[in-house]
C-alpha cells in the first residue's frame, strides 16, 4: 500500500500531503460529506418500494416522479418563486450595495447593520414573524397562480437580498473610483456612470449574488413552511410531506434532480464569473 510505504526523501515542513493523520482527517471528512449524497443518488435507482436494501437498477422512479402531478406542481412553484426572488434580490441587493458604497449619510451604520439582520436572525423566528405579518396585514390568499405565491416570494426576497447585497458590496470595494470620476469627466451623468462603468465592474458580484439568492430560495424550508398555504406547496415542503409517509426512491429521485439543477446553475455562474474576473483584472 502506497499509504504506508516509507518515502525515501525526508519529509519537509510543508509536505502536508505526506502526513498520515492529515490524510486520514481529510479522507474521513470527505467521506461524511459526500457518502450520504452519493448514497441518496444511488438509491434513487433502487428497484424497491422501501429504501433500505438494494434490489436492482431501475429508472422507474424518475418516470414516476415526472408523472407525479402534485410534486411537479410544487417543483414549478419552487422554480417560479426562486426566479422572482433571484431577480428582485439581486436588484435590491445591487442598489443597497451601491448606496452603502457611494454615499455617506446619517445612520448609515444602523442601516447597514439592520439590513444584515435577516442573515443572523434564526430562520424559525423569521418564519413566525412573516406568518404573523401576512396574517396581520390581511395579505390576500387564494389568488390565481402565480399571484398566490406572492407571500412566499416576498418572504424569500426579504431573507436573500441581504446576502446579495453583502456579496456585491464586497465586489465594489475593489472598484477604482477614478473610473467613475473619469466617466463623469468625459460627460456621463450620474446614471450613465452607474450603467456604463459601475455595473460592468459589479457583474461577478451580481452573478454570485443571484446564485446565492436562487439556491437560498430553492431549498428554503423553514420560512416557506410558515408562509405557504395548502395550494402553495413548494418542492422542499412537498418532499417533507412525502417523507412523513415513507422514504421511497421517488423522494431520492426528486432530491437528485434538485442537486443536479443546483450544480448546473452553480457551474454556469462560476464560468461567467471567471470570464468576468479575467476581464476586470486589467483595471
Amino acid at each position: 500500500m502506497r499509504l504506508f510505504k516509507r518515502n525515501p526523501d525526508p519529509m519537509g515542513p510543508l509536505d502536508y500531503s505526506r502526513r498520515f493523520w492529515l490524510r486520514a482527517t481529510v479522507g474521513v471528512t470527505l467521506f461524511f460529506l459526500y457518502a450520504p449524497i452519493v448514497g441518496l443518488i444511488a438509491f434513487s435507482f433502487n428497484d424497491s418500494r422501501r429504501n433500505i436494501v438494494w434490489r436492482g437498477f431501475t429508472t422507474d422512479y424518475y418516470v414516476k416522479l415526472f408523472n407525479n402531478e402534485s410534486l411537479m406542481l410544487a417543483f414549478g412553484n419552487s422554480l417560479t418563486i426562486a426566479i422572482f426572488c433571484t431577480i428582485f434580490s439581486t436588484f435590491l441587493g445591487a442598489l443597497t450595495a451601491y448606496v452603502l458604497w457611494r454615499f455617506r449619510f446619517r445612520g448609515k451604520a444602523i442601516y447597514e447593520g439592520g439590513m444584515a439582520l435577516p442573515i443572523v436572525i434564526p430562520e424559525i423566528c423569521m418564519g413566525v414573524a412573516m406568518m404573523v405579518f401576512f396574517a396581520r396585514v390581511g395579505w390576500p390568499t387564494g389568488l390565481p397562480w402565480p399571484f398566490n405565491l406572492s407571500a412566499i416570494t416576498i418572504a424569500h426576497i426579504a431573507f436573500s437580498f441581504p446576502f446579495a447585497a453583502i456579496v456585491i458590496r464586497a465586489r465594489l470595494e475593489s472598484f477604482n473610483r477614478e473610473l467613475a470620476e473619469c466617466a463623469r469627466d468625459l460627460g456621463a451623468s450620474e446614471f450613465q456612470v452607474f450603467r456604463d462603468v459601475v455595473v460592468p465592474h459589479m457583474k461577478p458580484g451580481l452573478i454570485a449574488g443571484a446564485l446565492l439568492a436562487f439556491t437560498l430560495s430553492l431549498d428554503d424550508f423553514v420560512i416557506t413552511f410558515f408562509t405557504s398555504g395548502p395550494d402553495t406547496v413548494t418542492f422542499p415542503v412537498k418532499i417533507y410531506s412525502m417523507v412523513r409517509f415513507s422514504v421511497t426512491p421517488e423522494v431520492n429521485a426528486a432530491s437528485t434532480v434538485l442537486i443536479l439543477l443546483t450544480l448546473v446553475v452553480t457551474a454556469f455562474a462560476l464560468r461567467m464569473q471567471n470570464r468576468n474576473n479575467m476581464l476586470s483584472n486589467a483595471a
Binding site: N176, E178, L179, E181, C182, A183, R184, D185, L186, G187, A188, S189, Q192, D196, V197, P200, H201, M278, L279, S280, N281, A282, A283
Partner: protein
C-alpha cells in the same frame, strides 16, 4: 494683432479660491492664479500642498468653499464635471477595463451624442495622435502601462477640451519611459495647442516641460514664474529650497537705500546687495555658482570665505564638495571637472581653500 490680444486673455482665472475639508482642514488657502491660453502650466509642490485639490476643483470634482473659478470667461464653480469644457488624465489612467481601446476613446463622444461617423473619424485621429492607431481593437489588459496612458490621453484629447488636466501623469512609469513621455507630452501639447495643466511633485518634470510653474506649499501659491525665473530668482526660502539645491546662510538685512540692503552675517561680514528684503534673511547661492581658489580673491564684486573640505562626492562631470565655513551647515559647491588632470580636481578632506562666488549670484531671501 487680434490674435495677440486673444492669447493674452487667461483661459483659467482662479480668484481667491479656498477649499476647506471637514470644517477645519484648509487644503487650498485663498489662491489667485491665471493660466494663459495655449500654455503648458505646472502645479508643483510637496504632497499635501493642495495642488491636487486645486486640480480637482478645476475638473469639478470638488466645489470651492470660497472664491470663483472662471474658464474662458464662464463661471465654473457650480457646473458639474460632465458639463465642463475640461478633461482630465487621471493618475491611475482609469482606462475602462471592459471596453476596447477604441470604445474607451469613443466614450466621451458618445456621451456628447455625436454622430457615429464623426465618432469613428475622431477616434482614429486621436489614436494616431498618440501613436496607437494600430491597437484600436486591443483590450486594456493586453497593454503596457505606457500604452494605457496614451489611451487615457487620446480619450481626453478626442473631446477637444479647452483645458487638459493631468494628475501626476508620469508617476507610475519607469524612469526611462518617463523621460520619453515628458518629451511626448510637450510635443503633443504643441501639436494640439490645448492648454495643459499638470500636477506634479517632481521638480525636474515641471522644469523641463512647463512654460510656467506655480509652486505651492500648505495650500498657498508661493510663486508663479517660468522655470528659469523660478530657479534663478526664487521669491522666498521655500521656493529656493524646493527647486534644486541651494546654500543658505542666515543674516540680518537693513535698508541701505538705492534698492540695496546691507546684510550682516557671522562668517561673511557685511555685504551690500541688491534687494528689498530686510530683517531676518537668508543669503542664498546655488552650488554650481561657487568656485574655489588657493589664493584669496581680491575682486570687490565677489563674496569669499575660507572653507575646509569636508565630504566629497564625485559625479564624473562635476564633484559635489562640502566646505566647512564656520556656520553650522556646510557650504556645498558643485565644482566642474574641467581638467583631465586627476590631481587638479581631487579634493582631500581637511584641505583649506578660498571659496567664492559673484555678488550678482547671491540671493537675499525673506521668509
Amino acid at each position: 494683432m487680434a490674435d495677440q490680444t486673444l492669447s493674452d486673455t487667461p483661459i483659467i482665472q482662479i480668484k481667491n479660491v479656498t477649499k476647506i475639508f471637514g470644517g477645519n482642514v484648509k487644503a487650498v488657502d485663498n489662491v489667485d492664479l491665471e493660466v494663459r491660453r495655449g500654455e503648458f502650466f505646472a502645479l508643483l509642490g510637496p504632497s499635501g500642498c493642495g495642488k491636487t485639490t486645486l486640480l480637482r476643483m478645476l475638473a469639478g470634482f470638488e466645489v470651492p468653499t470660497h472664491g470663483s473659478i472662471i474658464v474662458d470667461g464662464q463661471e465654473m464653480s457650480n457646473v458639474p464635471p460632465n458639463k465642463r469644457p475640461i478633461n482630465m488624465v487621471f493618475q491611475s489612467y482609469a482606462v475602462f477595463p471592459h471596453m476596447s481601446v477604441e470604445q474607451n476613446v469613443a466614450y466621451g463622444l458618445k456621451m456628447d451624442r455625436r454622430p457615429a461617423k464623426e465618432i469613428k473619424e475622431r477616434v482614429a485621429e486621436a489614436l494616431d495622435l498618440v501613436k496607437l492607431g494600430h491597437l484600436g481593437k486591443r483590450m486594456p489588459d493586453e497593454m503596457s502601462g505606457g500604452q494605457r496612458q496614451r489611451v487615457a490621453l487620446a480619450r481626453a484629447l478626442v473631446k477637444r477640451p479647452k483645458v487638459l488636466l493631468l494628475d501626476e501623469p508620469l508617476s507610475a512609469l519607469d524612469a526611462k519611459l518617463r523621460e520619453a513621455m515628458q518629451l511626448e507630452l510637450v510635443r503633443l501639447q504643441k501639436t494640439v495647442g490645448i492648454t495643459f495643466v499638470i500636477v506634479t511633485h517632481d521638480q525636474s518634470e515641471a522644469l523641463s516641460m512647463a512654460n510656467r510653474i506655480a509652486v505651492m506649499n500648505t495650500g498657498t501659491v508661493q510663486q508663479v514664474a517660468p522655470p528659469t525665473t523660478l530657479y534663478e530668482m526664487p521669491k522666498n526660502r521655500f521656493v529656493a529650497d524646493f527647486i534644486g539645491k541651494i546654500n543658505m546662510i542666515d543674516g540680518e538685512a537693513t535698508d541701505a537705500g538705492n534698492g540695496e540692503v546691507r546684510v550682516k552675517t557671522s562668517t561673511l561680514g557685511e555685504i551690500k546687495l541688491k534687494s528689498t528684503a530686510t530683517g531676518k534673511v537668508a543669503l542664498a547661492v546655488r552650488p554650481e555658482k561657487i568656485f574655489v581658489d588657493e589664493k584669496q580673491p581680491t575682486d570687490p564684486s565677489l563674496v569669499y570665505v575660507k572653507g575646509k573640505v569636508g565630504e566629497v562626492a564625485y559625479f564624473g562631470s562635476y564633484s559635489n564638495v562640502f566646505f566647512d565655513i564656520g556656520t553650522g551647515t556646510p557650504l556645498q559647491a558643485d565644482i566642474s571637472n574641467v581638467s583631465s588632470d586627476i590631481e587638479e580636481f581631487t579634493f582631500k578632506t581637511g584641505e583649506e581653500y578660498w571659496v567664492y562666488w559673484r555678488k550678482a549670484d547671491t540671493l537675499v531671501l525673506g521668509d
